[in-house]
Amino acid sequence: MAATTGVLGGFLARPMGYAGVWGWVTTVDAKRVGVLYLVTSVTFFLWGGVQALAIRSQLAQSELAVVSPGLYNQLFTMHALTMIFLAIMPMSAAFFNFVIPLQIGARDVAFPRLNALSYWIYLFGGLILSAGYLAGGAADAGWFAYAPLTEKAYSATKGMDFYVLGLLVLGISSMAAAFNFIVTILNMRAPGMTLMRMPVFVWMTLITSFLLVTAFPVITVALIQLLFDRYLGAGFFISSRGGDPLMWQHLFWVFGHPEVYILILPAMGVVSEVLPTFSRKPLFGYPVVVFSGIVIGFMGWSVWSHHMFTVGLGAVANAVFTISTMLIAVPTGVKVFNWMATMWGGNISLKTPMLFAIGFIALFVIGGLSGVSHAVSPSDFQQQDTYYIVAHLHYVLFGGSIFGLFAGIYYWFPKMRGRLLGEGLGKLHFWLMFIGMNITFGPQHWLGLDGMPRRIYTYPANMGWDFWNLVSTLGAFMIGVSILVFLYNIYRSFSHGEPAGSDPWDARTLEWSISSPPPLYNFARIPTVHGRDPFWDQKYATDESGRAHRLPAGAQGHNGHGENVQNIHIPDPSYFPIFVALGLALAALGIAFHLAISAVGVALFLIAIYGWAFEPTVEPRAHH
């Protein structure tokens, strides 16, 4: 082994075991990386929720001063950034990591160490983004950071620097993960797993990954330009020097709108797995659902200026983007009908994942309809920058993405931990969150149509906004209580949950054909796939009348036994991912503090990347 550890040979012996804390730090196992992603993203979700509760407390009544105006600006900016980049996206990534290799019948991802690197960069990037609170003020210009508010002249604290550097670092994490999943999905499918047999969650992951690797370079360029404005005295977005603040808006939303689909498509994928399982029917119109997803992926690029209707781009631009935005509602609506048709006539079992999936459909439709109302640009002139938009975006991101992802947590937690979550507590969580969500965000529609602007610190007493704001705040705390129920459920199930067995839901896809939690090598024997819902087909046969009949246990296929598992090559753990990530994070932090830190970071990065390049994925072992 010493001969192959490359430039660091002898200095840093390769970790060979999966035990203890170091086992987690050096892990390259996609399932473990997925668990790390899930734990970290839920933690950031709680942090984003605390910031939301602070915002709602400030707005509970007119003319309150629960937090200072400066802190309020940081809170609404960081709430959005935390939820988008540190909670929803990585929670989706948690499922990409854990579920995708299992669903396509693979033993790992294409680049195990790159996968670990994505996680560590995400963690460090999240800390950089949040670090502003401890260093004189976090980002406070809104998550879209419109120029020229973000220029040095108007934003003197380091908050915007942490915004720029944090998002640059997080972008690398997202892109690295997306490259990995594109290659994994296209190139590591089990025999017979053709593209049109892939589970819809795999499809949505593939589309999301393509959006990530194409949208993030655009925001990367915009962030670099802002960085140059702030640090090198460039004038990209400074109008007094010929620059154009509108350029930032275009670059941001060219990224920002595909980003919206990056947030929702994985949740749509989860729901497309949960609904068939708990309706005991195949997904209705599978090819249509897949192609709708692809169409959404393409059309997501042609609607960005609907965020800019009131900027004054002119009648032609507004008309074009009105039409393209209304068109994108078509493939989305098609999916909704497919989900409903999947449930139609099904043998529906209302377990917690199913409740969250149905909640997703209901809330997402409401958010989608309000979305169509401001796709119409004249109507949007009334709604722009009001609480109506806040209500809309929370119906699609909270009612949509978060409900979909919670469906995923309840659905796949048994596979991850080997124990079921409590059904009673799960249902309590769902109903508290579902009702709380509608109490919080429903009234914001009226507040917005009544003229209440977004991002205001407070409002006068005579506006008539007090009552619905108080209702909204109470709803927010109800969501908070529901999350406490969820956490208790996890805590209780961790040691006392009912053992899940390999297939607690009588599900359809390959991840349920192996033990819970799965062994390190996933599949003892790589399965051969003969159709959609491959595991269902192993369990059930269809008779002439179209009825499914369970095959006797002996006749069922199984992927848990097979070849001598000692001979399966599994990638070995590695120190290099965390070192590369640390080098990158230090290099970024140094820009905000002192370039000497950057120099150390770059040096660490280079050493680790060379060590990585010359380290084999699997160490040659003596017995081979």
Binding site: A215, F216, A222
Partner: protein, 201 residues
Amino acid sequence: MHAAATAEHDATTLGLDHRKLLMWTFLGSECLFFGSLITTYLVYKGRSLVGPYPHEVFDIPYTSVSAFVLLMSSLTMVLALAAIQRGDQRGLRIWLLATALLGAIFLGGQVYEFTVFVSEGVTLRHNLFGTTFFTLTGFHGAHVAVGVFMLLTLVGASWAGKLKPEQSLNVELVGLYWHFVDVVWIVIFTVVYLVEAPNIV
């Protein structure tokens, strides 16, 4: 320089090595990166409030020569790949070094060009032309520099006997990256230097 696919000779679904698919996807992503930088340059073209303006500082014959040098490096890159594929380690090293040298000459030419521009008053902060020009060509130069490092790493690996003919994919991947960076320069050279329309957008 190993990866799961080559180390274990696994068959992949598309019959394409994982790393090759990764490189192509990465280059696709890079198109959007340079696309955004070039778009910014074009949107801001002709909108500098003060001179010097592009036509006052550009030396087209000079930059044409350095562009030619960079394009020739793609030829030597192809020869390096051909050399390792027929097991010619010495040829491999010669052509890799030639490629790295041509890349370094291009970079030297760019550094010289930058210093001339700065001495004529064009800087990153002076006007929009400087801001957009240095950002775009600077990031291209950084890509060339990374490429030179990778080429020299390959030379070192070959010298240490760690780059065997069956690992020719390593050379091919660096080659893909190198050709891409060349192609981007063709676009930049055309759009920035040759097209002199004052306001294209």
